[in-house]
């Protein structure tokens, strides 16, 4: 992998964002000094990133941003792909890693006190804020790909919600790929800063656009000050040639509340590392997620909930349906520090394997150093429930349709809990399609 590290470091000339050059060059040093994870490293034991080396991804797109969607018909198609009906979002659209201004819209609907801007367009006050916060929620040594991301930044999104400001309008950040003649690498970056008592909704949306061979290396930081509330979605719907490494690093001050929903349809590999650090007492996070790989696809979620202070709660639930010869990995770590008394932490991971070649590696990892805590966790790997199957069939439903209805119900339970009904409605057809080949079998669930 050493060769890959060197090559990757040379991809972009350092410092397109001159005001961030210090941050970027420091990251470059870290990246060059990094040992890339291999299968001997516990955290990467089941994740094979060799495909990254072999995949020849280290190229930049020749066309990106507005240049990549130049025709009217391209535009219309792209808008259709981005649209989540009924969400009424403010939308920022990136194509091949660069902002596409003609497709980004709705900024005038943001209330006073909300700043939403791409790094390249920031003013100096915003740059100061970014410099103060960027990278503060993550540990680069543990997550070496975040160093690559930082060293190669050409742009990023900055959302700042001022004190006591409630932003009702969801903010949707779409990352698309437009056809290129070779495989490409994209660095995705998002920094969300919520000041005390503020509220916002952020949807990180990676639709299936052109089925481009692309390596997306994403880093999202969510910084929630006292009593701030954030609804956060990370929807990885990209096509099967996508190689996605994503990191979401959240830090919650006292009383802050983070509600996250993750989704990954399968591809060559999608791995998301999610870290939520409870830094202030009374903070709470809900994290739900779904993964649906099939064929030879791979999905990997590594979550880590850090409870560093007393009286915090976390509730985590991930479910997956793994079909064909696909493989999924779920690693859920809960770390309760010595002083984090009265922590309430729950985690559940349920998996449905629909073929005997499908594979799931699920591992709860608990490190508990405080004695007065409640920590419940469970992981299951199951087939469909016989009793439920029989019940449906006694009502005349065919075995094939019953199995689709039950599989869908299994994931739909989490979709039903999604905060924004428009997102639930948008996702259901993708979910159904991802494990049902015969459309007549989905007519009653959609």
């Amino acid at each position: 992998m050493a060769e890959f590290v060197k090559q990757a470091a040379q991809l972009t000339a350092l410092g397109p964002l001159t005001w961030l050059s210090e941050f970027c060059s420091e990251a470059q040093q870290q990246w060059l000094g990094a040992t890339l994870p291999n299968r001997k490293v516990e955290n990467w034991k089941y994740t094979n990133i060799r495909a990254l080396e072999q995949g020849d991804y280290l190229n930049l797109a020749t066309k990106a941003g507005d240049a990549a969607v130049s025709t009217e018909s391209d535009c219309q198609k792209t808008v259709a792909i981005c649209d989540i009906a009924g969400l009424d979002s403010v939308r920022m659209v990136f194509v091949n890693g660069e902002l596409c201004e003609r497709l980004s819209e709705g900024f005038d609907r943001l209330p006073a006190g909300v700043q939403l801007v791409n790094f390249a367009k920031t003013n100096s006050a915003q740059q100061d804020l970014i410099k103060r916060h960027l990278g503060s929620a993550l540990d680069t040594t543990k997550h070496p790909f975040t160093a690559l991301n930082a060293s190669q930044l050409v742009d990023g999104v900055f959302l700042h919600v001022g004190k006591n400001t409630v932003c009702e309008t969801p903010i949707q950040i779409v990352h698309l790929q437009a056809t290129t003649d070779q495989a490409i690498t994209i660095q995705q970056r998002l920094l969300v800063v919520l000041e005390p008592n503020s509220q916002a909704t952020v949807v990180e949306h990676f639709p299936d656009s052109a089925n481009v061979k692309a390596f997306t290396n994403g880093v999202t930081e969510l910084l929630l000050a006292e009593n701030a509330q954030l609804n956060h979605y990370r929807l990885n719907l990209e096509g099967d040639q996508t190689f996605h490494l994503g990191g979401v690093h959240a830090r919650l001050a006292a009383g802050a509340n983070l509600n996250s929903f993750y989704l990954a349809l399968g591809s060559v590999l999608k791995r998301n590392d999610v870290v939520v650090y409870h830094a202030g007492s009374g903070a709470h996070c809900d994290i739900n997620g779904l993964y649906l790989p099939r064929g030879n696809e791979q999905v990997d979620y590594h979550t880590c909930i850090e409870h560093a202070v007393p009286h915090c709660t976390s509730d985590e639930s991930f479910r997956g349906i793994i079909a064909d010869s696909a493989k999924a990995i779920f690693n859920g770590r809960i770390h309760i520090h010595r002083q984090a008394q009265k922590t309430l932490a729950q985690m559940s991971n349920k998996n449905l394997l629909t073929s005997n070649k499908a594979e799931i590696d699920t591992k709860p990892e608990l490190e508990i150093y405080a004695d007065d805590v409640q920590c419940a966790h469970g992981a299951t790997i199951a087939q469909l429930d016989d009793t439920a199957m029989h019940y449906l069939r006694t009502r005349g439903v065919s075995a094939a349709e019953a199995s689709v209805i039950l599989s869908f119900g299994f994931i739909n339970e989490l979709v039903n809990d999604v905060k924004h009904e428009a997102i639930a409605r948008y996702l259901r057809p993708f979910l159904a399609k991802s494990f049902v080949k015969d459309e007549t079998l989905t007519r009653h669930i959609l």
Binding site: T394, R395, G396, E401, I405
Partner: protein, 253 residues
Amino acid sequence: MLSIKDLHASVEDKQILKGLNLEIKPGEVHAIMGPNGSGKSTTGHVLSGREGYNVDSGSIVFNGKDLLEMDTEERAREGLFLAFQYPVEIPGVSNMEFMKAAVDAVREHRGEEPLDSVSFMKKARERCKAVNLPIDFLKRGVNEGFSGGEKKRNEIMQMMLLEPKLCILDETDSGLDIDALQVVADGVNALRDSGRSFIVVTHYQRLLNYIEPDYVHVLSDGRIIKSGDKSLALELEEKGYGWLVTADEEGVA
């Protein structure tokens, strides 16, 4: 309608039905009573074709067809309906989708046009009201978090929507309050007609005041040991099963 002859059935190599005979003509209501563990629910499961319930010998003919040759769903489409003693919870699947799938399957089998969603909704709402469940139960997960009595009423609602030919109600009355019992009985009575038959499994004579049976059978240790008219239920209420079971054992010996 239904003819069960010398049925022997077992679960996990344990013999449960040991020579069951039952003849049901169109329009008849048969009550089956009997001690716990005598095989009443097993009879329902065998009739519904549940996996793990093995028929060792005997025959079941349903409307002139060999029931044992059919899959569970085929039996349902042919008009067999089982209201479960313990209805199953299916979180994530709404009652509405579930019932639409069921009604569509049954109608298709009968060669009828599928109901469009508006007509189906209308019908479902009516039936929901008929069993006195709030309309939002249609949107909830199938039986998810329903109380015992609500689950039983949900079974009756399904029965009303599917309009089966033979309805088997397995202790649909247990766990019902007095008003709910009336609702269930009204539901059944509304469906009673010359072409539709019922098997009503119950422990309580009280239900039979609401749903008047043509015959009452006592099932014990996998066989019917006594049949009579509705007065038998009153007699059982008074005397219990002991005298019958002893008489039967003496008869066998």
